[in-house]
Symmetry: C2
Subunit: 178 residues, 2 copies
């Protein structure tokens, strides 16, 4: 029997000018009430695993959250962390691309790429990101943590769906074309 | 009789990661065929004047286009240009904010702010931009000319309308809240 490969989805909130957080990693400028939050929590349940960079993981750590997605297999990419502060958290420290490729080859539900921009860029460049799911917030920041960082060349996307929320947040689903 | 103030609309194509052009000012990565182009040409007719930065103006100059919008009163903001290469082009070299404020106070149709990001940031910061109209193209660039540059604080927007084109381009209309 042929099984469908697990999709890797870069699922993140951005500003209209393409930032996923302020320069200090804060993101309180993003709308955190309304139907788009309910939808987000529902969508999280469709994933089986989450992969994130160390800085993204540390956003929760600041609030003593060592296991931000207790219902997902959790992977944190870091060269500096020697030990995960929670036994449920798996560290990826060496060959990130190889580790994520292996994770995608396993059986399971889709994989949530929660950020940050550097990790997403690395995985986009390696051709491992299948979808980009953007919660486009109605504001411009002018500066911050970018959605992606320097790419070898531009990455064309295919718009799959859009949803408009009353808050002015847009949910934009794109396929990354191979 | 009370007349409606002329709106200033920052109307520009962006990538999903918030760039209005590549670092070398090229923008051939943007979709230039399809209904969104027809709509753009129609929308241009609703403006009475266009304001742009010198680098934006020079994109046309490279192709010997000295009067890119012959049906609009044309203003180019520049400290370096001493003389406009076309008599229809008015140079704004000193108090940009004052000049644009004066232009908005005149009778006439709405004003098209065609870029670039630095000029838009200056006018956003001065509270002179009324709307942001984005042609969101389905791609990420990773690096380029940003939609806006460093702002004193984030600028909240209000989503007014959306339109989805078959090319995957989205037209997003936002009001800049005072």
């Amino acid at each position: 029997m042929h099984s469908q490969k697990r999709k890797l989805t870069y699922h993140v909130a951005t500003t209209l000018d393409g930032f996923i957080a302020r320069e200090d990693d804060s993101f309180d400028c993003f709308s955190n009430v309304g139907d788009h939050v309910t939808d987000y929590l529902t969508m999280l349940r469709a994933y089986g695993a989450v992969v994130m960079g160390r800085r993204t993981y540390e956003i929760g750590l600041k609030f003593n959250v060592t296991d931000p997605y207790p219902f997902l297999d959790t992977y944190v990419v870091s060269r500096s962390l020697k030990e995960a502060p929670n036994p449920r958290v798996n560290l990826i420290s060496g060959d990130v691309v190889g580790a994520v490729r292996a994770l995608k080859a396993q059986e399971g539900k889709d994989i949530y790429l929660a950020g940050g921009g550097d990790l997403a860029t690395q995985l986009l460049t390696a051709g491992l990101v299948d979808e980009v799911l953007i919660k486009l917030n109605p504001l411009v920041l002018g500066t911050g943590i970018p959605l992606v960082t320097r790419l070898p060349s531009h990455v064309p996307l295919e718009l799959l769906s859009t949803k408009v929320y009353r808050t002015g947040v847009l949910l934009l689903q794109y396929a990354v074309n191979p």
